[in-house]
């Protein structure tokens, strides 16, 4: 069961990476990052079956960090939207030479 869970975790992580790389809507891009965090959580839980309960504690901590990241990131997107009137990441090119 552990190898299957690790396989699903890898597939979900890959889908999250593809989402980050291909989407232009900043909110969907951010949700893809959440999907990658979830994939890592799945592999942590699967490996906690082998190595004790520490992996589940890590999952709880990852969830805390991801909640903090979501709140701050979405606040940044609200500020960006007020400035650019869009959340398309193509419009955020101030640093482009």
């Amino acid at each position: 069961m552990i190898s299957e869970a690790l396989f699903f975790s890898a597939v979900l992580f890959t889908i999250g990476v593809v989402g980050v790389l291909t989407r232009r809507n900043a909110i969907i891009l951010f949700m893809s990052v959440e999907l990658m965090l979830n994939a890592v959580n799945l592999s942590l839980v699967a490996l906690s079956m082998l190595h004790g309960v520490g992996g589940q504690v890590f999952v709880v901590l990852v969830m805390t960090v991801s909640a903090a990241e979501a709140s701050v990131g979405l606040a940044i997107f609200i500020a960006v939207f007020r400035h650019f009137r869009s959340v398309d990441v193509k419009d955020m090119n101030l640093l482009k030479g």
């Binding site: 069961m1 299957e4 869970a5 396989f7 699903f8 597939v11 979900l12 889908i15 999250g16 593809v18 989402g19 291909t22 989407r23 809507n25 909110i27 969907i28 951010f30 949700m31 893809s32 959440e34 999907l35 979830n38 959580n41 799945l42 839980v45 699967a46 906690s48 079956m49 004790g52 309960v53 520490g54 589940q56 504690v57 999952v59 709880v60 901590l61 969830m63 805390t64 960090v65 991801s66 909640a67 903090a68 990241e69 979501a70 709140s71 701050v72 979405l74 606040a75 940044i76 997107f77 609200i78 500020a79 939207f81 007020r82 959340v87």
Partner: protein, 170 residues
């Protein structure tokens, strides 16, 4: 592991992968968020099947219940889910397929609730024991990380309020 257990594990894993694919390909942010909720709930089912009951419950409460609601709040606050992108009503074939799938799931649920559970399919027969190991590790071995994460949450609250607040000059 019984065959039934294995089958349900694969089923939820495939649901998670299929929902993730649909999530990546949706145009509307609201539809994408709902597919991501589907991924998270099936991941919670996988956690419970692997014996991590507490993590499964927290996954539903925090990820599907809190974080995705914040995402949807922001989508609606910024008025990003436009009506043409939201209207997700498909043709008759789609609706019939969804209805058939619902019937299959209902029959599945009925058969599960009728059948006596095999003893060895349940990993942790004592639900009172589901939280205690995690709590013991969290509050003994990882106490410093726990306290630091509370500090991180406080900083995130303050940061979110400062960033999203309308400045008084404009």
């Amino acid at each position: 592991m019984t065959l039934f257990y294995q089958f349900v594990f694969y089923l939820f894993g495939l649901i998670a992968v299929a929902s993730a694919l649909l999530f990546v390909t949706r145009k509307s942010p609201v539809a994408a968020a709902l597919w991501l909720v589907n991924v998270m709930v099936s991941l919670a089912a996988l956690y419970v099947m692997m014996g991590a009951h507490f993590v499964g419950a927290v996954q539903v409460l925090i990820y599907a219940g809190a974080i995705m609601v914040v995402f949807l709040f922001v989508v609606m606050l910024l008025n990003l889910g436009h009506a043409d992108a939201i209207s997700d009503i498909r043709s008759l074939g789609w609706r019939l397929g969804a209805g058939g799938l619902g019937l299959v799931l209902l029959a599945f649920l009925l058969s599960v609730s009728r059948a006596p559970w095999p003893r060895d399919a349940v990993l942790d027969p004592r639900p009172a024991n589901a939280v205690a190991p995690v709590a013991g590790a969290l509050f003994r071995d990882y106490l410093l990380a726990f306290e630091v994460s509370s500090l991180l949450l406080l900083a995130a609250i303050v940061g979110a309020v400062v960033l999203a607040k309308r400045s008084s000059r404009t």
